[in-house]
């Protein structure tokens, strides 16, 4: 199937994983984000194109940063945002995911932004309900809006998405548990970039080729030849439960420190989805022109605006045409 995942209600479309998007839809999203960037740089005033829409955020797993980014994006376009406080305990108690979502539907939301600790939950919600679903991160599966925002940052940095074809991008960290790595590899693969997954063996996926990527267990082997070094956030408890007995032994091999930074190509760039664990994955002060880290946060909001605009414009068109039919 090409295009955004089709839902039972015509016009309602979801973004649950990168494969939901066709190449032209991705280019369209980049174009929309670019328009919002120009508006932001100029008047800082955005249209209220989504003023009739209601967006619900449904975070089964805490993430203030991501929730704020989505909320800000929706509000900038005039949508109303309601946050449904769902406790982590409702997940552990095995409360039916569908029951929760039926409640969201009944409240009249047009779209729901879902963060869930279990892989596939946003996809399941999209297939079980008539809601337009945006995946805000599901377990170790995907985090598509993060990857799309990063693509937008890369496309700006390299002056056009067409220039990503010849680029080599290393993603470094806990690949096995990273939803960002999965979305990003899938997305960059579409534009011909060469992706190398870098991390210790116990944090590597079983078949990197399934993600269309190469792999390495040695950051020193790749650091000198990449155009982009994408550092993932490291969770300390995962390090200590695994192959490296301490953070120290991990950082010795995989931290971007001064020595490794100096080996990077002159115009290469460092990225990170944030928030950075200073002294763990990154231990060097990066000059502004070599880091996209704060740009990524800004672009994340612009890309989420683009996603809402694309998904909800169709939904509110529907509503308008329904009004037309019923003549009120």
């Amino acid at each position: 199937m090409t295009g955004l995942t089709s839902n039972p209600v015509p016009g309602r479309r979801s973004l649950t994983q990168i494969s939901d998007l066709s190449d032209s839809e991705i280019v369209d999203l980049l174009g929309r984000a670019e328009i919002y960037r120009k508006q932001e740089l100029g008047t800082r005033r955005f249209s209220d194109e989504l003023k009739d829409s209601v967006v619900a955020t449904l975070f089964f797993e805490g993430s203030t940063r991501t929730r704020l980014s989505f909320t800000l994006a929706a509000e900038r376009l005039g949508a109303r945002v309601i946050d449904l406080a769902v406790s982590a305990s409702s997940v552990s108690k095995g409360e039916s995911l569908k029951d929760t979502c039926d409640t969201v539907s009944a409240l009249g939301a047009d779209a729901v932004v879902v963060r869930h600790p279990n892989e596939g939950a946003p996809l399941q919600i999209a297939s079980w309900t008539s809601l337009a679903v945006v995946n805000a991160g599901d377990g170790c599966h995907e985090h598509p809006t993060q990857a799309l925002g990063d693509l937008f940052s890369l496309s700006s940095a390299f002056e056009g998405v067409g220039n990503l074809a010849a680029k080599k991008i290393a993603i470094v960290g806990d690949i096995l548990h990273s939803r960002v790595a999965r979305s990003l590899s899938a997305l960059l693969g579409r534009f011909g970039s060469k992706v190398v997954l870098v991390g210790p063996p116990d944090m590597m996926v079983d078949r990197p080729s399934a993600l269309g990527a190469e792999f390495s267990f040695d950051l020193d082997e790749v650091v000198g030849e990449v155009d982009v070094l994408y550092l993932l956030r490291i969770q300390r408890e995962r390090i200590q439960g695994g192959y490296h007995s301490s953070i120290d032994s991990y950082t010795r091999r995989f931290q971007l420190d001064q020595k490794r930074y100096l080996r990077m190509a002159p115009k290469s760039i460092v990225m990170h989805p944030g928030p950075v664990n200073r002294g763990v994955e990154l231990a060097v002060k990066l000059p502004e022109e070599r880091s996209l880290i704060s740009e990524q946060v800004r672009n994340g909001v612009l890309m989420r605006m683009a996603v809402f605009s694309k998904i909800l414009a169709t939904a509110s068109d529907d509503r308008r045409s329904q009004r037309g039919v019923f003549g009120d």
Binding site: V91, G94, S96, L97, K98, H116, N118, E119, G120, A121, L123, Q124, S127, W128, G139, C140, H141, E142, H177, R179, R182, A186, V205, D206, R207, P208, S209, A210, L211
Partner: protein
């Protein structure tokens, strides 16, 4: 029951060495004649033209959900699906609530199952509560009439307990059936390990989880004697190991499920929990290897592993949803659909003038006729042998037959399935072949694919 003689005419009849154009006469509860051009004077004639006539099917692996989960299935809905699927006999697994692990529970459950309009036999567990800590009382259970022991749902992880269970099997003449799955390699997994699990970010189980336990059990079988049945084989290496063990003369049998023959793990790409099953659907290449093995004759039986679940236990995040799919009613069509893929070189298969004629009689290629024979062998006589029965279409045998149309096509629809559960994996899929008629002990059960009694 009417005492009128019945003649099933014009079909291809299942015999040990092939499918032959024969007529079958039924009087009372038995088959009285099997030969060409039977006289039909004064008889009721069942026209089986274009169809095959097989022994009724036996299922060596059913989850009845009795006792404990009437929301998922009842004895009535189970029986209905079984009869519609062409089955005469179902072997119920012991992973119920409570576990069937004592004589008193086994007797009570069996008493209840006896009321079913289909024969349902009950297995007992190998270990108490299926906890893998202590063996059940094999001697008392065997004296009470249990012939089949299994912890199905989980493997017997302890090598020592499996050794002791197989020793019991040797001493008492009962069968021990293993759900081969290494508890450590399976830990946390909700699907097969492969490209799909990597993309979905789900924990996958390697095929070696199964094959290492099969290898271990074969070594234990050599050390103890006894009779081992390997449930729902899903790994390539398991098949090789079982073939070698059989060639060495060990008493080992193996079953394969319709879903491992027809489906592969790419179907999980959208986190559809209907396809979550244990052992998991494997890669396309393993699935194709399993089909080739089944055609070659590496399996004794087709077993449905029919596993109904109330809808809410499937409407959960993928990693938390229950394992299992329903498949009793659709077993023949699912398997026959899986056998449809033409061989790489059809001409390589030796056929004679006769098989060309017989095949064209029911609109099939000669190689398809050989496969159909193999399939019916596994669903009927082969499966019956696993549970210690000898069946066949011959004079004086019990008149339990099923009539299948191998060229019929239908689209899988949950509305057509008699279960309370909806975890049906063939929804919307075009299936080939259907069960159209059937008799059990001379009594007509199915007519035009519908229950008739």
């Amino acid at each position: 029951m009417s005492e009128q003689k019945v003649v099933v005419k014009g079909g291809l009849v299942l015999k040990p060495d092939g499918l032959f154009a024969l007529d079958v006469a039924i009087e009372g509860e038995v088959i009285t004649e099997v030969s060409e051009g039977l006289d039909t004077f004064g008889s009721r004639v069942i026209d089986a033209t274009g169809c095959v006539v097989s022994t009724s099917f036996y299922d060596t692996h059913t989850h009845s959900r009795y006792p404990g989960d009437s929301e998922a299935e009842t004895i009535e809905t189970l029986s209905e699906q079984g009869l519609l699927g062409g089955y005469q006999y179902l072997l119920a697994m012991a992973n119920t609530e409570p576990t069937i692990d004592s004589v008193s529970i086994w007797k009570a459950v069996r008493e209840e199952l006896r009321k079913a309009p289909i024969e349902v036999d009950q297995a007992a567990s190998i270990t108490i509560g299926r906890k893998g800590e202590r063996l059940v009382d094999f001697v008392s259970l065997s004296e009470a009439g249990v012939t089949f022991f299994t912890d199905d749902g989980t493997g017997v992880g302890s090598t020592k307990l499996m050794y002791e269970a197989l020793k019991m099997s040797e001493l008492l003449g009962v069968t021990v059936a293993q759900h081969a799955q290494d508890p450590y390699l399976f830990e946390g997994a909700s699907m097969n390990l492969g490209a799909t699990s990597v993309r979905l970010g789900l924990i996958g189980e390697p095929e070696a989880s199964e094959s290492t336990m099969v290898a271990r059990d074969i070594e234990l079988l050599k050390a103890t004697g006894g009779r081992l049945h390997v449930l729902h084989v899903s790994a390539r290496e398991s098949i090789n190991l079982i073939r070698m063990a059989r060639n060495e003369g060990l008493r080992i049998s193996a079953e394969v499920t319709p879903h491992h023959l027809l489906l592969d793990d790419s179907l999980l790409s959208n986190f559809d929990t209907s396809f979550k099953v244990n052992p998991p659907l494997r890669s396309k290449s393993t699935q194709m290897a399993i089909v080739a093995s089944a055609i070659r004759g590496d399996f004794d039986a087709i077993a449905t592993d029919h596993a109904p679940h109330a809808y809410h236990s499937k409407q959960r995040p993928f990693s938390q949803a229950s394992f299992g799919m329903i498949g009793l009613q659709s077993a023949f069509s699912a398997c026959w659909t899986a056998f449809s893929e033409p061989p790489a070189s059809p001409t390589a298969i030796a056929t004679d003038h006769w098989s060309h004629r017989a095949a064209s009689r029911i609109g099939l290629e000669p190689y398809e006729l050989q496969r159909l024979h193999r399939l019916l062998e596994m669903m009927g006589p082969g499966a019956a042998r696993v549970v210690g029965r000898r069946i066949g279409i011959e004079p004086n045998a019990q008149a339990s037959i099923v009539i299948c149309d191998p060229t019929a096509r239908s689209v899988g629809k949950i509305e057509d399935i008699a279960s309370h559960s909806t975890n049906f994996p063939y929804e919307g899929r075009t299936l080939r072949g259907s069960v159209v008629g059937g008799f059990i002990r001379g009594k007509e059960i199915l007519r035009e694919g519908k229950l008739w009694f």
